[in-house]
């Protein structure tokens, strides 16, 4: 039996990496990928807890989180494509019209 804290630590590490990635990278696509890392860390937590409690609610939450992630990606990539058409750039520090 793997202790629950192992899962917690794993998800913490992944969350942290995603967090740092968001702060560190300038390519908007990689930033979004880092956000996906964060969401996955969350999902690991939920599933681990769900198994621990023998309670399906956590897995349901993961299901919804997945749905939301998919929706977010659709909107986000649409924004990126529209922006790329307008600006031909997707690095966030190349957006100069508004101060970042």
């Amino acid at each position: 039996m793997v202790p629950i804290s192992y899962y917690l630590i794993l998800s913490g590490i992944v969350f942290l990496i995603g967090f740092v990635g968001v702060l560190l990278r300038r390519n908007i696509i990689i930033i979004l990928l880092s956000v996906e890392l964060m969401l996955n860390a969350t999902n690991i937590n939920f599933v681990a807890f769900s198994q621990y409690f023998h309670d399906v609610a956590g897995q349901v939450f993961v299901f919804f989180a997945l749905t939301v992630a998919a929706a977010e990606v659709a909107v986000g990539l649409a924004i990126i494509i529209a922006l790329y058409r307008a600006k031909s750039a997707i690095n966030i520090d190349e957006f100069q019209l508004l101060k970042w």
Binding site: I4, L8, S11, F15, G18, F19, V22, I28, I31, L32, V35, M38, L39, A41, T42, N43, N45, F46, A48, F49, Y52, F53, D55, A57, G58, V60, F61, F64, A65, V68, A71, E72, V75, G76, I79, I80, A82, L83, A86, K87, I92, F95, L97, L98, K99, W100
Partner: protein, 495 residues
């Protein structure tokens, strides 16, 4: 079918809004461009009906009515916000009508998105499970991302959408991680069980603290509290003005509502910890929001920083609620936030409506300089702006003062007189930049170089919105009792 009859009835307003949203989106392709107004009127009609139903529920339902296996409740607290949000959404639609035409982005989907965002907010304010609150937040945010990027011919709008999206996704990731930790603590995402789990585990568990901080950060992004405010100015400036108004008012109000419910109902056991946290946040927010607003030249950007600052004021009420002693000790603090945000909605909406009206006249009315000599050209518009600016600065007899008054009263009651004093000092700072707008409008002559500024004609809808906003600002400024007592009654249902 019948099993959910009662649940559906309790959530009738949401249902109507969702159905109308779908209807608007479905009708949009078959509506000729010249008749798109009808979609707006359809949305407004639905909102009016919802408002009626929600107000009607006040008398018939006084307790908490749980629906859908206790994932959402309909209580007075939720109803307060629903009434506020419905009114704001309706007024926003009426503001948008002329504005969108002027910007040439009059799309039928826009109204659908407003309604969908509104339904997300209503889910947020009535959710008592972190799942529903999270989903409501996402529904709201996604609609707002799209609405921000609505004006695709302008790269600025798209940039704003991109920034809003990146930081929004980031923040919801953080929020979700916090939620997952809370789930791990309580074994359920219901606020009630989280509260009981915290009660049994004790507040000094580091995991509890981390989860609390993460959730607070997640919500901090949504309410644009410093240091999670960086998206606000850009997004407010880049988004179409009517969207900005909606974002600044409704999104903030709904986020605050969910925020309060989560922290009071779910994490109430950690009052001492989070009130300290929010104390810090609110002080930083006040300082930064007010100081940075001074140097802005774009009025939307200035209002963005001002909205950050207003979040700081509202947070004071939250700190006071956290310091509250006893069972319902936090009541005045929470009520003060509700009052504050209700009033803030009216004045901000009014200010943005005036900005939107300037755009209609062909003037790119976003730089503060564009308001030069407005009093000479448009005395009435300038006077309305004066009232809104005064109210935002919190000067009596406008409603802005009442909002601040109750917040500070709560703060002083919670032995935070120094915080109130600090906040008031920054209210003076804020008065500087609000009064600068007034100064530009009234005390500078229109620059001779600009060729005969067009005569602005407010459309009937815009006039109605302005009239409502002014009426709200003045009436609540002179006679706030109905609002205050309503907020106080509503907040009592927050367990």
């Amino acid at each position: 079918m019948s099993a959910y009859g009662a649940d559906l009835l309790a959530l009738l307003p949401e249902l109507i809004i969702v159905v109308t949203a779908c209807l608007v989106i479905a009708l949009d392709p078959i509506t000729p461009a010249s008749r798109r107004d009808l979609l707006a009127w359809l949305s407004v009609g639905a909102l009016v009906i919802c408002l009626g139903i929600t107000i009607g529920q006040i008398n018939s339902v006084n307790a908490r009515v749980s629906a859908f296996s206790e994932l959402v409740v309909v209580d007075a607290y939720a109803r307060f916000w629903k009434i506020l949000l419905c009114s704001v959404a309706g007024l926003t639609i009426l503001t948008s009508l002329p504005y969108l035409k002027a910007e040439r982005i009059h799309l039928g989907e826009y109204y659908g998105f407003i309604l969908l965002a509104l339904s997300g907010m209503m889910v947020m304010v009535s959710g008592v499970d972190l799942l529903t609150i999270y989903l409501g937040t996402e529904l709201m945010s996604l609609s707002l991302y799209v609405m921000t990027g609505l004006n695709r011919s302008k790269p600025r709008s798209l940039e704003a959408a991109a920034k809003y999206f990146v930081l929004g996704a980031f923040s919801s990731g953080i929020l979700l991680y916090g939620i997952s930790l809370l789930y791990g603590l309580a074994g359920s995402t219901k606020l009630a069980s989280i509260a009981s789990a915290i009660g049994s585990r004790g507040a000094d568990d580091p995991l509890v603290l981390i989860a609390t901080i993460l959730v607070a950060v997640g919500f901090g992004f949504k309410i644009a509290a410093v240091p999670f405010h960086m998206w606000t100015p850009d997004v407010y400036q880049g988004a179409p003005t009517s969207v900005t108004a909606f974002m600044a008012v409704a999104a903030k109000a709904a986020s605050f509502a969910a925020f309060m419910r989560v922290f009071v109902e779910g994490l109430g056991g950690l009052k001492a910890d989070w009130s300290l946290l929010f104390l810090l946040i609110s002080v930083v927010t006040l300082v930064l929001g007010n100081v940075v607003a001074i140097v802005q030249t774009n009025i939307k950007r200035m209002l963005a920083y001002s909205s950050i600052a207003h979040a700081g004021y509202a947070l004071i009420g939250f700190v006071a609620a956290g310091r509250g002693i006893g069972l319902s000790g936090g009541t005045p603090g929470l009520a003060s936030i509700m009052i504050y945000l209700a009033i803030y909605s009216f004045m901000t909406l009014g200010a943005f409506a005036v900005i939107g009206m300037l755009r209609k006249g062909g003037v790119e009315g976003e730089e503060i300089e564009d308001f030069t000599g407005l009093a000479k050209r448009q005395p009435l518009a300038a006077f309305l702006m004066l009232i809104f600016m005064t109210s935002l600065a919190g000067i009596p007899p406008t409603a802005g003062f009442i909002g601040k008054f109750y917040v500070f009263m709560a703060a002083v009651e919670a032995d935070l007189a120094w915080l109130a004093a600090l906040a008031l000092v920054f209210a003076v700072v804020s008065a500087y930049y609000y009064m600068r707008v007034v100064m530009v409008m009234y005390m500078r002559d229109p620059s001779p170089s600009s060729v005969a500024p067009p005569h602005l004609v407010a459309s009937p809808t815009l006039s109605f919105v302005l009239a409502c906003a002014v009426a709200g600002v003045i009436l609540f400024g002179l006679y706030p009792n109905p609002l205050v007592s309503f907020a106080l009654q509503s907040v009592l249902t927050l367990k």
